[in-house]
Amino acid sequence: MPKSQIALTVNGKPVEALVEPRTLLIHFLREQMNLTGSHIGCDTTHCGACTVDLDGKSVKSCTVFAVQLTGSDIRTIEGMANADGTLHALQEGFREMHGLQCGFCTPGMIMRAYRLLQENPSPTEEEIRFGISGNLCRCTGYQNIVKAIQYAAAKLGGVPLQEAAE
């Protein structure tokens, strides 16, 4: 199949690549960019394990063609740590509050939460639950994911941190 040239930014770095028109963004990231942090959990855009940030929006990268993305700016879980190598408040929050178990949904969940907190820096519990409802988790029952996002919201907002996971 003929390939097309794309030029975009991934995790702050300019990237040029050749892709088939039908190559999905998730496969481009995982197989061409070797960014395997984003995962595939369904094939129907339900589970959110492949969620990345695309031009300031959360997208499920299994439903975006890479060929559409020239000029785009993409951020994945691999681009979440701070420039000095320390963890982002969300990454820290997920660990502190025991917001993950098998870890498979975690990158997508963190990327979704990242955008959620950009849109709403101090969400209520209900807003968090609604905000991550496009991301499925089979392990945690979400309760500690909610706490992890609250932890990050508090830390990013300079509010004293609540107590750790029980």
Binding site: H39, I77, F94, G103, F104, S133, R138, T140
Partner: protein
């Protein structure tokens, strides 16, 4: 000692041993996207395999023509049964003593069954080519309803065994019959029912569901022709068993097979068995000489690799008028699908279903199970439970409620009357299990007190009166469930898989500088083993948990183990870990005695050191002893400090719990809101309370999914109608309730650290608790039993049947 010397308590805290909420070691890689899952693996020259599957549930294969698929650029080969048959690989043995087709030969027996395996340079090309394999079918009548499987004129499903009158578990009554199994005292039970003052009988069906971890089943097989060695990376809950099975099937010597289970994205029973994708990837790698990756998609996962439940239980209780149970009788019809691929210990074709007497003191009981074939996917795995334990718990907890209703007793009061009493432990049940320990009345009372049970019942009564007066259209239901699990399979006297006893193992090596590596035969899929096993070792031998690496999932380095499922890691490998640690500690004691020039018996253990009795300032820390083990051991002692333990448990463990749920049901929409869910779990000694709580949250959420909406549904033609996330219910954060957790602690008397296992309890107790809550809402209107799943539509239908819609 001067003031700067840390106290025993301070030193113990630094170890991060058992009982502390140690943060998880695994998280560091997962939160940065640096986990290492199977599909992340990329080997030079790697090929991709994909299946052509049957659109029919039952059909004869007239012809398979792969020529068009083979002609696609990038396709290297297409495997069919004709290619596998000369190698005797078109069928594979199952864990249940049956065989299952790898690629269908003459017939297909369920929708999406594997027919051809396309091997290509690229996963997109492989998928393209699967559509071009031309298969000509002749449709056959299907068996979907298990109650019709043994009809006189039922279609013959398994032609390969239709004339066999004996199966792996005794005689077969019918060509679609797999096995009959029974336990208990039939005559005694019949007599109890004849004498009974009150009896109830109900068909309790537990629908077919699927464990559905977020990561599907997948593998990479790589055969090295020069060395004659096979390496398989895969989503394996039991890597060593996979190695043995792969060796038996492929005839490659077991020492030349390397099985690696990297990080696993959830298992819940789905990843215990061996599936056609694994076999085909291995064959494809042998044929092509290149690594071959197989990754199933979600539809394939939900419709082919395993299922759970599909148990149809006719349950009867006999009781006295004042509410004492006097007998239990259960007959189960078990739908096993097209092949008997249930993942149970060999001698237990219905798993541990004879835990169905539950937490109650039944003087006599009888249980029988008939397994049948149908045109559905094979499997029968324990979806977040020990073998058939959730079926048993759902059955007894529903029918106890039904009996309470008939007796006019409150469900909690009726349970209180019949719970096994503390002084009866160890308790031998009427169906033969020896329950190790329990304090049931305390647990149930604590649960009732915490939720304010009497007040809730008063509120419910007021609401029911308001409903009757037409002032509200909302019903309130209170679900009570008291469950006893049986986990930690299991003792070699009655538990094996393929003839291998179900022990498990741990090997610990202490390095000279006082750090360590532990390797185990289990395999975490999110349970946090890297964190918790290190806590056990830290408490046992006094080295900080942070200085202990835990490694699982590599059959070349780990001692042989049977894997992680049925909540067996803590009861079996956790015990092996403690026992191996104790061997190390015993040797360290001798080294300490030598260095301190005292007798072994003159030493006492103090958190992280041996000290001389009566002279605590003379001591040797474990770190010092680790160094000494490599340079100054007593004369005649071998240097080094390591140990391995293979632990054959003397008994199973029996975690238990009391759950209470409150729901509000809108009778006009069927919408059911979980107002409150309280879970009290007793898993014996608690290793990491944070992880325990996380396990309970997750298990309750899976229970909520099962009870309130999950079903793998087939239409009359055998089409799977729920094989994607569009139709198969997985709760999101919005509908998932908030969980309240609590505990009591009743250690297991036979386990080295008293731990019982916890991961599956919330699923086992949660399902009946939700079901009882929904049923409880309707029972004052004359309803006895509404079947799961309690989705809005079915609940609306139940209300409609009761005439509530005018």
């Amino acid at each position: 000692m001067n003031d700067m010397t840390p106290t025993s308590a301070e030193r113990a805290e630094k170890l991060q041993g058992m009982g502390c909420k140690r943060k998880r070691v695994e998280d560091i890689r997962f939160i940065q996207g640096k986990g290492n899952y199977v599909d992340d693996l990329k080997l030079p020259g790697m090929l991709y395999g994909d299946f052509t599957r049957s659109p029919h549930a039952h059909a004869r294969i007239k012809k398979i023509d792969p020529s068009k698929a083979k002609a696609v650029p990038g396709v290297l080969a297409v495997l069919t049964a004709a290619d596998l048959k000369p190698l005797s690989l078109h069928y594979m043995p199952t864990l249940a003593g049956d065989v299952a087709a790898v690629l269908a030969e003459e017939k297909v027996l369920y929708q999406n069954q594997e027919v051809a395996f396309v091997i290509a340079e690229d996963r997109y090309v492989a998928a393209d080519a699967t559509d071009l394999v031309e298969v000509e079918y002749e449709g056959l009548p299907v068996v979907i309803d298990p109650f019709k499987a043994m009809a006189k004129d039922a279609p013959v499903l398994r032609e390969d065994i239709k004339d066999k009158t004996d199966g792996a578990h005794g005689s077969r009554k019918h060509y679609n019959h797999i096995f009959a199994w029974e336990m208990g005292d039939k005559d005694g039970t019949d007599a109890a029912f004849r004498k009974a003052e009150v009896t109830v009988k109900e068909v309790i069906s537990y629908q077919r569901v699927h464990p559905c971890p977020l990561e599907t089943c997948q593998c990479v097989a790589s055969f090295d022709k020069i060395k004659g060695e096979l390496t398989i990376w895969g989503t394996f809950q039991a890597p060593h068993v996979i190695r043995t099975v792969a060796s038996l099937i492929s005839k490659i010597p077991e020492h030349k097979i390397h099985v690696i289970a990297p990080d696993i994205g959830g298992g819940f029973g789905n990843k215990v068995g061996a599936y056609p994708g694994y076999i085909c990837a291995i064959v494809a790698s042998i044929v092509t000489g290149r690594p071959v990756k197989w990754v199933e998609d979600r539809i394939e996962n939900l419709s082919t690799t395993a299922f759970a439940r599909d148990y149809h239980m006719t349950a009867e209780i006999a009781a006295t008028k004042d509410g004492r149970v006097t007998g239990l009788r259960v007959h189960t019809l078990a739908d096993h699908g097209a092949f008997d691929a249930c993942a149970d210990p060999s001698k237990w074709p219905a798993g541990f279903f004879n835990i169905v007497t539950g937490s109650y003191d039944f003087p006599v009981a009888h249980v029988s199970v008939d397994g049948v074939y149908s045109n559905k996917a094979p499997g029968g795995v324990a979806y977040r439970c020990s073998f058939r334990v959730t079926e048993a718990a759902y059955c007894i907890e529903r029918v106890m409620d039904i009996m309470a209703l008939k007796l006019g007793l409150d469900p909690a009061e009726f349970r209180m009357k019949n719970l096994i009493r503390r002084e009866q432990f160890p308790y031998t049940s009427a169906l033969g299990w020896e329950y190790d320990s329990g304090d049931y009345h305390v647990a149930l009372k604590k649960a009732m007190d915490t939720v304010g049970y009497a007040k809730l019942r008063a509120e419910q009564k007021a609401k029911q009166e308001a409903f009757r007066r037409g002032e509200t259209r909302e019903l309130m239901g209170i679900g009570v469930a008291f469950f006893t699990e049986i986990v930690g399979a299991g003792p070699s006297r009655n538990c094996d898989i393929l003839g291998i006893a179900m022990f498990d193992s741990a090997e610990i090596r202490i390095h000279p500088t006082g750090t360590a590596i532990a390797r185990l035969g289990t395999k975490s899929q999110g349970q946090g083993h890297e964190t918790t096993y290190a806590q056990i070792i830290a408490s046992e031998i006094g080295l900080p948990a942070d200085n202990i690496t835990v490694e699982e999932g590599n059959t070349d380095t780990a001692p042989y183990g049977l894997g992680t499922y049925g909540s067996r890691s803590t009861p079996v490998s956790g015990a092996a870990t403690a026992m191996a640690a104790r061997k190390i500690k015993a040797k360290a004691q001798m080294i300490a005695a030598h260095l301190l020039e005292v007798h072994d018996d003159d030493l006492e253990w103090d958190v992280d050191r041996f000290r001389v009795r009566g002279n605590p300032e003379r001591f040797k820390t474990m770190t010092e002893l680790a160094w000494a083990a490599y340079n100054s051991v007593p004369p005649g002692m071998e240097p080094g400090l390591e140990a391995v333990s293979y632990y054959d448990p003397p008994n199973m463990t029996y975690p238990f719990g009391a759950y209470i749920c409150v729901v509000d049901v809108d009778v006009d929409t069927g919408v059911t809101k979980v107002r409150r869910f309280y879970a009290l779990d007793d898993c014996g000694t608690r290793i990491n309370p944070m992880i325990i709580e996380g396990q309970i949250h997750g298990g309750l959420t899976e229970a909520f999914g099962i009870a309130m909406g999950q079903e793998i549904h087939y239409d009359d033609e055998g089409n799977v109608t729920t094989a994607s996330f569009m139709d198969y219910f997985l709760p999101t954060a919005v509908e998932t309730p908030k969980w309240e957790t609590d505990w009591t602690t009743t250690p297991s008397p036979h386990h080295p650290i008293g731990a019982k296992g916890v991961g599956e309890s919330p699923n086992v107790g949660g399902v009946p608790c939700f079901a009882n809550a929904v049923n409880d809402a309707f029972k004052f209107l004359g309803s006895t039993h509404i079947a799961m799943p309690h989705d809005n539509w079915r609940t609306w239908m139940a209300a409609d049947k009761l005439g509530l819609h005018g």
